[in-house]
């Protein structure tokens, strides 16, 4: 498929998540500036950008923690900006937050239960088993306090906790932060695996190379503006990404 036709099909199909001209502020600080994103059902989409570009703000805007001053955020075609976070999670979006943010003095098991907070169906147990299948290490440590896990294990827990919400869209904020190359690789393998099982993924990453290996498309955010939006191979080949994120001159 050519890039043109890819873009064409994307525009035909209603995206799972869409930002339309979103502006956000912290007080008088203008952070996101008329931002547009489209994440299609079943895709892995990467969001790249330097420190302070507004990547985490994007995640918080999706979750309703930060409210856009103008523009719209749509999930399955319905506006979710202005909704309570609880409603947004219930609608099918689950976060793997920046810095993992597991509950340090709850056990691994209880952290997973917190991930399932909005669930009302009786299938939480199956999903717990699925998480333990994906991360056997968590099963071994299910009664251990999350704060005593290693960084890599905490990342697995953060991912597992998000899966417990049985999300249609998982938003991940720098899942490879602070992990060794081997663990980073494992996390990305897991992301691909989760995606194959049917979860759409919108992922913030500093590790542009790895992110664009697994993503179909990506966005580059620069001081709150989307400066590039393209397919992953095109981004990998672009001068801007090569210079800014892959350390090439």
């Amino acid at each position: 498929m050519t890039n043109e036709s890819l873009r064409h099909t994307l525009e035909e199909k209603q995206p799972l998540l869409e930002f339309r001209g979103v502006d956000t502020y912290y007080g008088s600080l203008h952070i996101l500036k008329s931002v547009d994103y489209r994440v299609g059902e079943g895709e892995i989409v990467a969001l790249l950008g330097a420190n302070g570009a507004g990547k985490t703000t994007t995640m918080k805007t999706i979750l309703g923690i930060v409210r856009p001053r103008s523009g719209q955020v749509l999930f399955e075609g319905k506006r979710i900006d202005g909704e309570q976070t609880g409603r947004i999670v219930e609608a099918g979006i689950a976060p793997v937050p920046e810095g993992r943010r597991v509950f340090p003095r709850l056990t691994v098991l209880d952290n997973l239960k917190m991930g399932a907070w909005t669930r009302k169906d009786g299938q939480v147990k199956q999903d717990m088993d699925r998480v333990y299948d994906l991360f056997p290490r968590l099963a071994e440590r299910k009664n251990q306090q999350a704060g005593t896990l290693s960084g890599g294990e905490q990342q697995m827990l953060a991912i597992g906790r998000a899966l417990m919400a049985r999300p249609r869209l998982m938003i991940m904020d720098e899942p490879s932060m602070g992990l060794s190359p081997i663990l980073t690789e494992r996390v990305f393998d897991t992301v691909v695996e989760i995606n194959k099982q049917g979860t759409t993924i919108f992922m913030v990453e500093q590790n542009a190379y790895m992110a664009l290996q697994v993503a179909v498309r990506g966005y580059v955010l620069q001081t709150g503006e989307v400066v590039l939006a393209d397919t992953a191979p095109n981004l990998l080949a672009s001068d801007m990404v090569r210079k800014a994120y892959l350390g090439e001159t």
């Binding site: 976070t85 609880g86 917190m114 909005t118 906790r161």
Partner: protein, 306 residues
Amino acid sequence: MTLDVLISGVVLGSLYAIVALGYTMVYGIIELINFAHGDVFTLGAFISIPVIQAIISQNGSTPTLGQSIFAIGAAMVVAALCCAVVGVVIERVAYRRLRNAPRLAPLITAIGVSLIMENAMAQWQGGLPVFYPTALQPSSYTILGTTLTNTQILVILGALAMMLGLDMFVNRTTIGKAMRAVAQDREAASMMGINVNFIISLTFFVGSALAGAGAVLYGIDLGSLGYDSGFTLGLFAFTAAVLGGIGNIRGAMIGGLIIGILQEYVSGLGNGVGTEWYDTAIFSVLVLILVFRPSGILGTNTAEKV
């Protein structure tokens, strides 16, 4: 220390522990020292007075055990519910808007709420201590050479039941776990879809309910109280919470018992020491902990929460 002193220390300490729980739960979840908590306690005692009077006639006749149990139970339930509602309203009206303000702001507001409540209660009940109605025909038992009154047994068992109940609620139920999750990382908890405002309200509800129910035990045990009784008791209970590790529920229970025993021990010393000195002893403990181990007995460095 004699067994007598130990028993009366445990009785007093149980009351401190119940009140300390309210301070520590609220601190654990919103990092606020809720100065009004002691006054909510006083309110609970005052509210329970007519409940007991309605069930047990106060004309000197002896209540049956059944009447006593019913009266005490009803008084505890009514006081707990009223205090719980008052606690939730205080948070909603006085603290919520200031949740992201500098920490001094809600602290001052808390002191303001405390003063308002004390003055209102002084208007309502007068400035002098009022008698708490008799709910239980006094009796005592001799065990291991020491006497134990039925009110002492009531306080210890009542407090124990409340503490065990709270411990189970917080550690075993999903909503209790959500409460701890909010205390540990409010934003992450909200990302799970947990309604943080609801959980904070619930924390005030539970902490204030314990104070209300505990106030009935206090009234029955001490027999009288004034509009500022809860404030004084609250200071000791707060010390207990800090001693145990502010924010830590089990710490509050342990701290309460230690402070109660310390107070009774110092009060019982002869030779010029005695009841005039227990304040000094207790607040010295507060100063020493703050200087040498601010995290308290069970607290961690990162301020162990709920």
